[in-house]
Amino acid sequence: MNRFVRRAAYRTSMFLLSVVLVVALWEMYKVVGPQDGGKLFGAGVLPRSNDTAMPHVWTMLSRYGRPEVRGSDKRVWVVVLAGAWFSFRLSIVGFLLGSSIGVGLSVLMSRFRLVERGLLPYLVVSQTVPLIALAPLVALWGGKLHIFGFEWPRWLSAAVLGAFLSFFPIAVGTLRGLASAPAASVELMESYAASWKQILLKLRFPSAIPYMIPAFKLGASGSVVGVVVAEISTGLKGGIGRLIIEYAREATADPAKVFTAVFGAAALGLTMAGVIAISDVYLMRNRPKETSS
């Protein structure tokens, strides 16, 4: 236990150190960087370091404590936190949708070679469709689609777009993982007359986990990106994506404000990654640890 605590403390301090480093780099650039940007061969390469383009870290942080608009009793951090929470829930829904679809497809593909041959190219093609082209179409399902008396809510469209980005890495990763079970083990199971289902649950899935965890991490961040882009694209109210675009409109006079929403989105992505990391620790608990020398 003592070792665990030490390890946690070490990790936390490293994270804090990295934050301090990023802040120091930002502020240092503000001191030495050109106010109006640097040009190399006529093309701008160095970003501007003035307060409009790069507000001071403390300006951005203090913006959290001030009201969103004057006369409003809501402070920015409350609004950003509420937005991030809203988008987080959508991302979770999108991620769950995406992972069920992804895992389902990969099982289907690993069972039938024909399905894999036929389906995989379409999955690849699906990921080349730009999200912003898809978003308005899916958004229109809101309030229009009725399935068995269930009215399609607008937020579900954003979650579906999150699922759209998350299912692909999960399907491909899981498929690879399911095929990774050692041939000898599969043959052993077959010699015991194990059914396909038994082999899948007792052998293939456990051996797929090391492949699935990174796939789920990709899927989780994909879900966040999908939800935020869908919010920006379709103007869904309440989420962090909508906040980013609304605050961006005020970037002329209040540049610090847009950063508050951007940090909110970053925190959202980190939280999602954290959720997956925790499940990683749980699922991998019985495996031999890789020794780091």
Partner: protein
Amino acid sequence: MKKSSIKLAVAGLAALSLVVAACGGSSSSTDTTAAPAAAEVTTDECVTPTPVKLQLQWFTQAQFAGYYAALENGYYTDMCLDVTILEGAVDITPQTVLANGEADFAISWVSKALASREGGANIVDIAQVFQRSGTLQVSMKDSGIASSADFKGKKIGNWGYGNEFEIFAALTKAGLDPAKDVTLIQQQFDMSGLLAGDIDAGEAMTYNEYAMVLESINPATKALYTADDLNVVSYEDEGVGMLQDAIWADGHRLFDADYNATAVKFVAASLMGWAFCRDDAQACTDIVVAKGSKLGATHQLWQMNEVNKLIWPAPAGVGMIDEAAWTRTVDLSQTAKNLEGGTVLTKAPDAAAHTNEIVTAALALLTEMGIDINGAAFAPITVTLTEGGN
């Protein structure tokens, strides 16, 4: 507003629309070359309100205050309409939403909507709410851009997405080639490009981006920018103003008597909302802010006031489509060349692209109700902007 007065007015309108129908009898439902006449508005007691969806061009802001005022003050309810206002977003095109039947009415700029119509969307301008163009090209005083002729050799910011046609019209009028004589720069929907010096003249709406500049600190004086620091080219004054926010309806459904009657009632109630905003800009701003707009309150009040200037006074009656302005918009849409040498429209839209039948019936209704539809006495208020518009 008392119910009885509305009933009386509706009765009056019914009588009037009979006259209108009699006059325009030839343009009956089989005639597709012209927009249909306004339907008779029934005087029945409101049993179930008609559901109506209105698609806006952008997020909730004072640009759409009239519709929100009509909703909040119950003008739609009084007309037996159950109106839902749909906000716009980055990738939402109101004309497309309307043409797909996802909304019953949409707010759109005329040139953009006509381009959609040319592409096959049967949508009709039934009320020209904004009578004047609110587009400006804003530059710093020292850059010496006093008119569109001075654009030559300058970096001109524009938004794209169909919001840039007036720039091309002005360039064409000034005899400049957009491809050679100016550097066109895609501009974000804020003014930081102008303040940073990336562009010499930024595209701005009187009611929004222009205020953003005036809400920013001028590093030279450490105070807010003032109108004296800036040069403003108004496309309306340059003679290339194109019609903007209008209410568009579904051309097919206008032949349906029920939808047509709904359109008359919807336009009437909306214009009532705009009349309310004209008389009480502050109250209207409060409505918009309460509807969840994230823009600051003084910025919204500025926007409300500037939008009022685009609508009022309306000598021919609010919402009437001025034939001269319509023709100018259509002509410019066909002659203003963009970077590729193309124009917005390849040919003039057919006569059914706009109609004053609906708005005429709606204005008759409003006149019956004693509402001032001209706003001859309209005087804008003075709004003092603060840093950040808060």
